[in-house]
Amino acid sequence: MVDLAAFMLASGLLVLGFKSKKSNLLGTRVGYALFAIGTLCATVHALLLGNSAVLLAAALAWGTVISWFVWQVELVGAFTAPVIAVILVSGIFFSAGGHGAAFTESQPAIKLHVATAILGQSFAILACGLSLLFLWLDRKLKTRQLGALPEKFPAISTLSRALAGTLWIGFIFITLSLLSGSLFALLGLIPAGTNMAPKVSWAILVWVWYLAILVLRGVLGYRPHKVARMSLVGFFLMAFSWFGLIFWAPWGSA
């Protein structure tokens, strides 16, 4: 519960910081500190409980922290902190309803599959956050609302670079999860009686979508704002597989 409280408070403070034109507000700094505390608590929580929702929350939190350091896009926390809070809340309900995945009790092969899938999902969520920031900045620049931009808002090329990076990392993890899932199904490691058809279909659809984004960007030279829009659609496909198909899979979305 500490992690949930930390991310809820961080959400409020970082969203306020995002709206503010000044970057050095105390509230924003406290928001970052709470985000860091929440990340550590969620990691411990995930390792102890193994609930897939908490795992996803922890992975997304770490992805956000990595994006701060690698691409200097701190403001993405204003998007991911509320999403993490929602995921943690959803984890409470799924656990209560018996849908929580007992990650810690799974076989190592399943653990690997679940971990790669969750990492892929977390980077897809991160890409969605970066896309929103990119499209917001694009809109403000196109409509020349320069006064509305926070002073330390990332530059548009920084957001574009961070978006491309997260899409690539997410795609690699999604690919690994699909490959590992297929391999373990062939080896008979998936529990008997599991209905895999909808899950696999959606996973392949999501994978194809992200592949299309990367091909269109890399080969056909799609401009960053189109890539941003496509990654938003990718996020919704992913979200449906997480929230929609979770009820069909006995071990959760993974």
């Binding site: 200097q72 020349r144 320069l146 574009s160």
Partner: protein, 445 residues
């Protein structure tokens, strides 16, 4: 500043008194300021004439497009009446240009008069650009230095004005370092380059194309080159002028406007500042240039009037177009941010004025403190010689002699220091009474 007109603040000190008489953008309209403006040659002549006629050893004139001020040091506050200072102001301008329009009545409408610490404070504010039309602009500090140099060349710069100018420039530097007053750029050309930070935070990673070689283009190119961008291309209809600008910068490459599409294809940021009467960059140019570009954004910043870039270009994906009106809003917001820093800057000025006041104070008392110190030293030395010559001290070693002399010197220094501290702590009138008493007792020569 208008409320300062005729605000002749009575200085209590009897010694040298600073004064300032002048006009600025708040007290005088542009036509009046034009008539007050003096060139360096005129200032040189005016300083020499005025210092002789008004018997002033220290005098300087600061003349810019926004102000013309005479500041100097008088023997005491008594003669610094408005009539005297208006007369000086009129004389300075008449001797320089033979102008006859400066009646006392017309001058009283436009001039402000400040004396004593008010004049000191005002000088600090002017040098630090707190009194400027755009607070924090750096030009005035350079103009202030020029004014001091002109006074030096004219032979009207003395120790008091030297100290005043040193303190004023030191205060200006402190304000620039410790507040945000100079942080936000307020010229359109600077704002155009700063806007490129929305394309990439690191300007050194960007490729700039600047079209034009006039004043705006020059300022933009100078500011851009100070960041050592990846590429700086300057293109102008007359390519020789672009070449000259590159040579002046010692950076970048020059071109004509013939291969504009190729140049745009190489750039991340295009700044247009030409005097062309019609658009020189059209939608088709950007569409063609886009084929040769990577996937990075293209910033087009049009600071020319009439505009150089077709407005419809902003419909192209990942191309961001801004014109002079967009930048004007940015500049206005920067000026507002500078104004927000004025309170912090005013605190620094107050602190500097206090320090300067203490320096003036100690300077006033330094002759009597010197005499007092000398008296105590002589007294100790004399009494030591007399006492140590007695027989009972004949067996003292050299080291013991030195130790006793050192002790007496320390007593003398401590007594002098106590007197100095007392003088500093007392109100000025009481301090002066004590100084008079010390002078009577100790300054015998």
């Amino acid at each position: 500043m208008r409320e300062l007109n005729h605000a002749l603040s009575a200085s209590k000190s009897r010694g040298p008194t600073f004064f300032c008489v002048g006009s600025n953008h708040r007290t005088a309209g542009i036509s009046t300021r034009e008539s007050f403006y003096l060139t360096p040659v005129e200032i040189n002549q005016a300083l020499q004439d005025a210092s002789q006629r008004f018997k002033l050893d220290e005098l300087a004139i600061l003349s810019t497009c926004n102000r013309c001020e005479i500041f100097g040091v008088a023997d005491g506050p008594e003669k610094l009446t408005p009539e005297y200072l208006y007369s000086m102001y009129r004389h300075v301008h008449m001797s320089a240009r033979d102008q006859k329009a400066f009646t006392s009545e017309s001058l009283s409408q436009s001039l402000y008069i400040l004396t004593g610490l008010d004049a000191v404070r005002h000088t600090f504010q002017v040098a630090a650009s707190l009194d400027s039309l755009v607070p924090g602009e750096t030009q005035i500090t350079g103009q202030f230095k020029d004014a001091i140099n002109l006074a030096k060349n004219a032979g009207t710069l003395g120790s008091m004005l030297i100290r005043l100018s040193q303190e004023a420039l030191g205060t200006a530097k402190k304000i620039r370092s410790n507040t945000e007053i100079g942080r936000h750029r307020v010229s359109i050309a600077h704002a155009a380059i700063d806007l490129a930070r929305r394309a990439s935070e690191d300007l050194a990673s960007l490729k700039f194309l600047i079209l034009g070689a006039g004043e705006m283009a020059r300022v933009a190119a100078e500011y851009a080159s100070s960041h050592r961008p990846k590429e700086l291309i300057i293109a102008n209809r007359t390519s020789s002028r672009a070449f000259e600008l590159c040579q002046h910068l010692g950076y970048g490459e020059s071109h004509g406007l013939e291969n504009l599409q190729n140049l745009i294809a190489r750039a991340d940021v295009v700044i247009t500042a030409t005097t062309a009467a019609s658009f020189i960059i059209r939608q088709q140019d950007i569409a063609n240039a886009a084929k040769g570009r990577g996937d990075g954004p293209l910033f087009l910043i049009d600071i020319a009037l009439p505009r150089n870039i077709e407005p419809e270009i902003s419909n192209i994906d990942d191309v961001y177009l801004f014109d002079i009106d967009d930048l004007r809003d940015v500049v206005e917001s920067h000026i507002e941010k500078r104004r927000e820093s004025l309170a912090a800057a005013a605190d620094i000025v107050s602190s500097s004025v206090t320090n300067f006041e203490q320096w003036l104070y100690s300077k006033d008392f330094s002759p009597i403190m010197s005499a007092t110190s000398q008296y105590f030293m002589d007294l100790c030395k004399r009494e030591a010689e007399k006492t140590l010559a007695k027989d009972i001290f004949s067996e003292l070693s050299q080291r013991q002699h030195e130790a006793i002399n050192a002790m007496l010197e320390a007593i003398s220094s401590k007594m002098t220091s106590d007197v100095a501290q007392t003088l500093k702590k007392l109100p000025e009138s009481e301090a002066r009474q004590l100084a008079d008493a010390l002078e009577t007792i100790y300054k015998r020569d």
